[in-house]
């Protein structure tokens, strides 16, 4: 290599090239470094053959290939970056692009349709007030079909696939409504809780354009879900302010507007906001950074500390876990949270990056959550005979086991990754492959539990 220590013209050119490539955004630090190494190897060989520095540079850059095409290839390979950078927008039909007028109209009409769907039962005399269990069980059916339709339209789903996607919704409508649930039935509540989880998978299939097993679509769907949740919360906050202000203003002129808020503003807004949120996530992918990974970065250390302190306190005081009625639920929620943290960390992580401090922390979080949960399960197992099997307990126990399996294997994969025995991609694949398990379990709860437990 010629004169690589002072800033020769060649070094200057290479530095400029590096800056130019980095600024395009599709390639990140280590990859640019790798390409630069290649460039230097090539230049060295050409210089040896007798070319001058700048001639060698030009030829080496030319051989590297068209940067547009190269960026596109890199972007395709690292599709997680598309989320932030629309580098392949120019000639990729499946890349996220700018929302068009057609799309705006479609979104508006599905949002209005969702808002009206929730008022449909009222037309047949099923008012919201007094029929809360019915509405709770069906709420996902009011909005998710519209969301699926929108995503299906956006992805250009084949009509045949679309028809297949109608089936789960039809089945869900049947299972939510044929069983004679009592007014305070536990299995009814379980159905209301699990139906959205079951149907979210259908939304996912529409999101990935019907090709569930192809490529990185599923991880994109996980990102989409997280971002949608965050957008929804933001919209809900705004909606709350709007509703409160409306009522107060009408109160000021002595008109009671409660009915407007309770029967129209809140239910219709809650439905429409899902569609608007989804549209915003689709359209604004490039505008804001992903929020979900930022939150996981923030909360992973905090939850790790809390769990460790909790364990230490248990050991220190010797207080056993007090097995009250539904103590399992608390630990279920804990595991859901930890799985969420792991999942969203995985979704934002560059699979090729080396293990760092944060990965160690993540393993610590998972292991401490497993220990806490194991203690809880032991405590509950010791007294399971006294409990009897109620639907709530079986559901909670099943969920606990499902999450436990996920986290145990994740911990193992994390440990391998940290000791340099496996790649992070394996962990990511495991999390993605596990996604349908949640929906399958939710389906079991919806379909079997009411019958098995006699609609209790």
């Amino acid at each position: 290599m010629t004169a690589s220590f002072d800033r020769s013209p060649l070094e200057e050119q290479i530095a400029q090239w590096r800056l130019y490539v980095l600024r395009r955004g599709a390639l990140h630090g280590p990859e640019v470094e790798e390409l630069e190494g290649h460039l230097r190897d090539q230049i060295a060989v050409l210089s040896e053959a007798g070319l001058a520095g700048d001639e060698a540079f030009l030829i080496a850059v030319k051989r590297m290939g068209n940067l547009d095409a190269l960026s596109r290839e890199f972007a395709r390979e690292h599709s997680e970056r598309l989320w932030k950078q629309l580098v392949i927008a120019p000639d990729a039909a499946d890349g996220p692009g700018k929302p068009t007028l057609t799309e705006t109209l479609v979104v508006l009409s599905v949002a209005v349709a969702a808002a009206l769907t929730i008022k449909l039962p009222a037309l047949f005399g099923f008012q919201l007030a007094g029929n809360e269990p019915f509405y709770a069980r069906n709420v996902s059916l009011f909005v998710l079909p519209h969301l699926t339709a929108y995503l299906g339209w956006k992805r250009g789903l084949a009509v045949v696939t679309g028809v297949w996607l109608v089936l789960p919704f039809a089945a869900a409508a049947v299972f939510a409504n044929v069983f004679p649930f009592g007014n305070r039935s536990d299995t009814g509540v379980l159905t209301a809780l699990h139906l959205p989880i079951m149907l979210w998978l259908v939304v996912g299939v529409a999101y990935v354009g019907g090709r569930w097993f192809a490529g990185g679509g599923r991880m994109d769907f996980v990102r989409f879900s997280g971002e949608l949740f965050i957008y929804y919360v933001l919209i809900a906050l705004g909606g709350g302010v709007l509703t409160g202000l409306t009522m107060m203003m009408f109160n000021a002129i002595n008109i009671k507007a409660d009915w407007l808020a309770e029967q129209w503003l809140i239910p219709c807004g809650a439905m429409g906001a899902v569609l608007v949120g989804a549209w915003l996530v689709e359209a604004k992918q490039s505008v804001i950074e992903n929020m979900a990974p930022v939150l996981t970065r923030l909360f992973t250390p905090l939850f790790t500390v809390v769990l460790l302190v909790f364990l230490a306190t248990m050991v220190w005081t010797g207080n056993p876990i007090d097995v009250k009625r539904e103590v399992l639920i608390v630990f279920d929620l804990l595991l859901v949270l930890v799985v969420g943290l792991v999942l969203y960390t995985a979704s934002a992580r560059d699979p090729q990056a080396r293990p760092d401090f944060f990965d160690g922390l993540q393993l610590l979080l998972v292991v401490s959550a497993l220990v806490v949960d194991a203690l809880a399960l032991v405590a509950i197992g010791a007294r399971i005979s006294g409990f009897g099997f109620t639907p709530n307990r079986v559901a909670a126990l099943g969920e606990n086991l499902i999450l436990l399996v996920n986290l145990t294997w994740s911990a193992w994969l994390y440990a391998r990754f940290l000791r340099d025995r496996g790649s992070f991609a394996v962990l990511e694949r495991w999390q993605i492959a596990y996604l349908p398990v949640y929906s399958i379990w939710a389906t079991l709860v919806v379909v079997l539990f009411p019958v098995v437990f006699g609609y209790r």
Binding site: G37, H38, S423
Partner: protein, 112 residues
């Protein structure tokens, strides 16, 4: 004679895997080896090799490590994994099927 774009894309995986099966290597050396072996007929756009390598790495067919090279610069070295060898054997069979089918057809064309 230069190969068409599709054929280059399709043959990239088995070529890279087969070269790595000979021993650990890095991007520039792989390209040089391909040019050498093919007598210059297989010409890759240099940069395009890297997305292929990264895909193979993500799928666990090759493993990579950054190490200092003889010139002192850091360089990313790739080696084939066990899954990579299995995949190579599988691809080898497929390419042999294609090659022998074509050969059969063209032999017949010659004799008739």
């Amino acid at each position: 004679m230069e190969l068409g774009k599709d054929l280059v894309a399709a043959s990239a995986t088995p070529l890279v895997l087969a070269i790595l099966a000979e021993g650990e290597s890095y991007g520039y050396a792989i390209i040089k080896r391909v040019t050498e072996l093919s007598g210059g007929h297989v010409q890759w756009t240099d940069g395009m090799l890297y997305p292929v390598l990264h895909r193979l790495e993500r799928n666990g067919l090759v493993a990579a490590k950054w190490r200092a090279s003889e010139s002192g610069r850091k360089r990313k070295y790739y080696r084939i994994t066990k899954e990579g060898r299995a995949q190579l054997a599988f691809q080898r069979q497929q390419w042999q099927v294609v090659a022998s089918t074509l050969r059969g057809l063209w032999m017949k064309a010659c004799t008739t």
